[in-house]
C-alpha cells in the first residue's frame, strides 16, 4: 500500500469520529465534554480561517468575530424564519444547512466589502481598521431590534451536533489546505513574505489579499452559524474585540501559518479555558475567597504576552503535520 497516497487526514478524522461516538454512547464521555469538543471544532474553523488571512497572507486582521457575528445572525434568523413559516419538515436538516451556507456567503460578502478599501493600508493601520469594522458590525447588531438588539437573538433551534460540526471543520481544513497548497496559495504566501517582490513576479497582491479576506470571512461566518445553532443564541457580546483576540491567541499559540497548529491550539485553548473556569470555581468554593472568573482572562493575557516574548513561533512555527500536509504532486 502506498502510504503517501492514503487520505491521511480523512482517516484520522473518521477515527476521531468513531472514538468520540463510542465514548459518548458508552457514557464515558458525557454531554458536557461533548459540548466542549463541539466548541473546540468551531474554534478550529475560526482559527484556521483567521490563519489564512493573518498567517498565510500576512494581513493583520483584528475583527474576525465580526464575520462570525454576521454568519450567526443571518443563519439564526433564517432558520427561525423558515421554521416559523413551516415551509419545510421541521426534522429536516436541509434548511439548516442552507442557512448556514447563506450565513457564510453573506459574511464573505461583508469580508469582500471591508477587504477592498482596507487592504491598501499597511500593518498597524489595517489592524485598527479591521478592529473598527468588527466593532461596527457588533454595534449594528446590538441596535437592530428585529434580531433582539441588546438581548440577542434567542430561541434558535438546536440543529448543530457533533457530526455536522465535525464535517464542517473537516471540510474547512481540507479546503483551506488545498487552497494553500496550490498556485493560488503560493501567491498568498509570497505576499506575506515580500509583497513588493510578489508584485514584481506578476502577482496581483490586492486581488489575493481580498481573496484571503473573503475566504476567511466565509468560514468565520460558517463557524458563527454553527455556534448559534449549538447554544441556540446569537448575542452581540459573543463577537466583540476580546473574542477576536482569543482567536488570535489561538493562532499564535499554535503557530502562525500552520493549520496543524491552529487545530491543536483550538482544542488546547478551549479545553484550557473550560479547565480554568472550573478550576477557579472550585478554588473559590473551597477556599471561600472571592476569586472571580476574570482570572481566566488574566491567564489568557499572560499566555499571549509569554508567547510573544519567549516563543513567538508558537507550537508549530510554520510547519505542518504530515497528516494534514499533502504530498508534493509528482
Amino acid at each position: 500500500m502506498n502510504v503517501r497516497k492514503l487520505p491521511r487526514f480523512l482517516i484520522a478524522v473518521v477515527l476521531f469520529y468513531i472514538i468520540v461516538e463510542i465514548l459518548y454512547k458508552t457514557e464515558i464521555l458525557n454531554g458536557y465534554l461533548l459540548h466542549i469538543i463541539n466548541l473546540s471544532l468551531i474554534y478550529v474553523i475560526l482559527a484556521t480561517s483567521l490563519n489564512l488571512i493573518n498567517g498565510i497572507t500576512g494581513q493583520f486582521s483584528l475583527g474576525h468575530m465580526g464575520f462570525a457575528a454576521v454568519g450567526a445572525y443571518v443563519s439564526g434568523a433564517l432558520t427561525t424564519l423558515i421554521l416559523k413559516l413551516s415551509v419545510s419538515n421541521p426534522a429536516s436538516m436541509l434548511p439548516f444547512i442552507l442557512s448556514i451556507i447563506a450565513g457564510g456567503v453573506v459574511a464573505a460578502f461583508v469580508g469582500f466589502l471591508i477587504g477592498f478599501p482596507s487592504l491598501r493600508l499597511k500593518g498597524d493601520y489595517l489592524a485598527i481598521v479591521t478592529l473598527g469594522f468588527g466593532e461596527i458590525i457588533r454595534t449594528v447588531f446590538n441596535n437592530i431590534d428585529a434580531v433582539g438588539g441588546p438581548r440577542g437573538l434567542l430561541g434558535i433551534p438546536k440543529f448543530s451536533n457533533f457530526t455536522v460540526i465535525l464535517v464542517a471543520a473537516f471540510l474547512t481544513v481540507v479546503i483551506i489546505r488545498n487552497l494553500i497548497e496550490s498556485s493560488h496559495g503560493r501567491a498568498m504566501l509570497s505576499i506575506r513574505e515580500n509583497e513588493l517582490a510578489a508584485e514584481l513576479v506578476g502577482i496581483n497582491a490586492t486581488r489575493y489579499k481580498v481573496m484571503a479576506f473573503t475566504f476567511g470571512a466565509f468560514f468565520a461566518g460558517i463557524a458563527g452559524g454553527l455556534l448559534a445553532h449549538l447554544i441556540q443564541l446569537a448575542h452581540p457580546t459573543q463577537f466583540g474585540f476580546i473574542k477576536s483576540v482569543e482567536v488570535l491567541i489561538m493562532i499564535y499559540a499554535g503557530g502562525v501559518g500552520s493549520l496543524t497548529g491552529s487545530i491543536l491550539a483550538a482544542f488546547g485553548l478551549t479545553f484550557l479555558s473550560e479547565g480554568l473556569r472550573l478550576g477557579i470555581r472550585v478554588l473559590a468554593d473551597t477556599t471561600g475567597l472571592p476569586i472571580g472568573g476574570e482570572w481566566r482572562m488574566v491567564v489568557y493575557a499572560l499566555l499571549l504576552i509569554f508567547i510573544m516574548l519567549f516563543r513567538n513561533e508558537g507550537l508549530m512555527g510554520m510547519r505542518e503535520s504530515r497528516i494534514i500536509k499533502n504530498v508534493e504532486v509528482d
Binding site: 488545498n178 493560488h184 503560493r186 513574505e193 515580500n194 508584485e199 513576479v201 506578476g202 504532486v329
Partner: protein, 256 residues
Amino acid sequence: MTPLLKIEHLTHFFGGLRAVYDFNFEIPEGSIYGLIGPNGSGKTTIFNLITGIYVPTEGAINFQGENIKGMKSFRIVHKGIARTFQNLRIFGNLSAIDNIRIARHYTTTSGLFASILRLPSFKSEERAVKREALELLDLMHLSNRAMETAKNLPYGELRRLEIARALATKPKLILLDEPAAGMNPKEVDDLMRLISRIRNEFKVTVFLIEHHMQVIMGICEWIKVIDFGETIAEGLPDKVKNDPRVLEAYLGKRGT
C-alpha cells in the same frame, strides 16, 4: 526597428527632491546595456519607474511600442519585464522551488475551483510548473537546493535564485540591479557567463545597474552614466571609461 524599451524625458520628483531628470534611453532587443553612476545618482529609481513602483512625474516609457507608464507593477511583469533587487527580496520562509513556482503563477490557468477540488487539470498543471521550476533551478546550478528554505541559502546562491525567479516569469527584458554586489572574482566571472547565457540562450534582453567595472567593461555593449539624476555620458564602455565628466563624477574634481 522599434527598440524594446524606449524611455523619453523621464523625470521624477520625490516631493521637492529631484531624483531623475530628463532621462532618455533606447534599448534594442537582444542587447546587454548598462547603467552606471555614483551611489544615490538615481539608478534604482529609474528601475523603479520602469517597473511601475513609482509613477513618473514626467516622461514616457514604452515597452515593445506600448505605453507602460502608470501601469501597475504586476501588469508590467505580465507584459514581459522582470527585475532583481539591490537588497535581495527573496521569499525567505519558502523553499527555493516555491520561489520559482510563484513566478510562474500568473501564467497558470487553474481556477480556485479546480485547485481546491484537485481536479486532473490542476494536477497536470502543477506537475508542469514543478518540472519547469526544477529545470530552471538546474540551469542555475541550484537543483540540490530545491527543497531548502530560501533564507538558509548562502548569499551567492540567493543572488542566483533571485535571478532564476525573475527569469521564471519568462520576460523579454530583465533588469538586474547590482547583480555582482558582494561577489568574489570567481563568482563575478560566473555571473558574467550567466548574463551572456541569459541573452543568448534564454533570448532575454538585459539592462543592468552595476558598480563592478569588470562586469561593465566585460559584457555591456553600451553604457549610460548618470549623476544626480542627470545623464552625464553615454556610449561604448571604453569611450565612457575615459570621459572626463565620468571621472569627475566618481572621483571628484582634481586639482586645487
